[in-house]
């Protein structure tokens, strides 16, 4: 599956099928700081992602106060 990441913007190819939480673990990212979006829909951490899916992992932390 094609995974879009931010900070910095980049794309990585990951072999599916894979649970959302396992994908995050593989990329060393915590769920609390990210949203996982398949197409344009949010998915939960137990969702199984397939090879054909387009995935965006969007960070949620902002630094400005």
């Amino acid at each position: 599956m094609l995974v879009q990441l931010s900070h910095p913007n980049r794309q990585v190819e990951i072999k599916g099928p894979k649970r959302t939480k396992d994908l995050l673990r593989e990329l060393n990212l915590v769920m609390e700081a990210h949203l996982v979006i398949r197409g344009d829909e949010l998915v939960t951490e137990d969702e199984i992602l397939a090879d054909a899916d387009q995935i965006e992992i969007r960070p949620v932390i902002s630094g400005g106060i």
Binding site: S6, H7, V30, M31, E32, A33, H34, L35, I37, D40, E41, L42, V43, T44, E45, D46, E47, R58, P59, V60, I61, S62, G63, G64, I65
Partner: protein, 313 residues
Amino acid sequence: MNCTKCPTSTRAVIGLPRHNAAFCKSCFITFVHEQVARAIKSFKMLSHEDRILVAVSGGKDSLALWHILLTLGYRADALYVNLGIGSYSEESHRKVRHYADTVAAGYGAKLLVHVVEQEAGAGIRELATILHRPTCSTCGTIKRYQFNRAAIEQEYDVMATGHNLDDEAARLLGNVLHWQNDYLDKQSPTLPASVEGFAKKVKPLCRLSEREIAAYAVVNRLDYIVEECPMAKGSKMILYKEVLNRLETESPGTKQRFYWGFLDKQAKPDAPAESMADKDQRTLVPCDSCGQPTTAGTCTYCKMMAKAKRSAV
């Protein structure tokens, strides 16, 4: 994972471990609105008669706040401060303008804009260099000043900012780590107009985590700037948030307990000072089995040993 609120087990779009819940799109939107309504009520933030000025940056928090207040029927205009940070400011300005034109205008709400370069003659980066101050501190000073000035001059009743639970918990952690007691007093979600010239300030998103607000923006198709401010790279606030998120992952609810616990203690009137010895003498009694001090009739050790002996028989 299915929605824990729907009777018909709709597919959930988000799991919220700190609430031991998962919600579908519709129930999640209701959850967010309820959390904001609870914050507004419990901290006496707003009334439906108030004219509100929302401080918007083009990021998820401020655009979500503007959207929620309008959806809940509040009279909320917004102010955007263009800091002159190259393409980042251009992009964030475009996002705010797009929301104002396509959604907010439909509620009769308007967008005010202040351009730092027009008044100061330079963008935030250049100003920070000229003033020999960190960029984030210069930015914070300018934004606080301009938001307050606009609120006062244009006679808004209250100014609302998009600070969320993570912002407040991270700020609290920073203040506690450095024992900045004066700053702790200013961490309430509602700051009154304490003196002439200061607008009342409120933080209606203080019950919602950063992830929940980002999710709200996604499910409502709010077009916000995902890119981080280039000036915030390496900021202490980001470090504190990362640490808190690690703790939250291991122990859901940590951020909430940390910040809400602080607010609870702050809300209670100062208890008379009592020494540890006085407190112990008031609360402890001899264990009825071994005689060592305990708060209960039989101490925990004696209870444990009695249970162990019973199991061994």
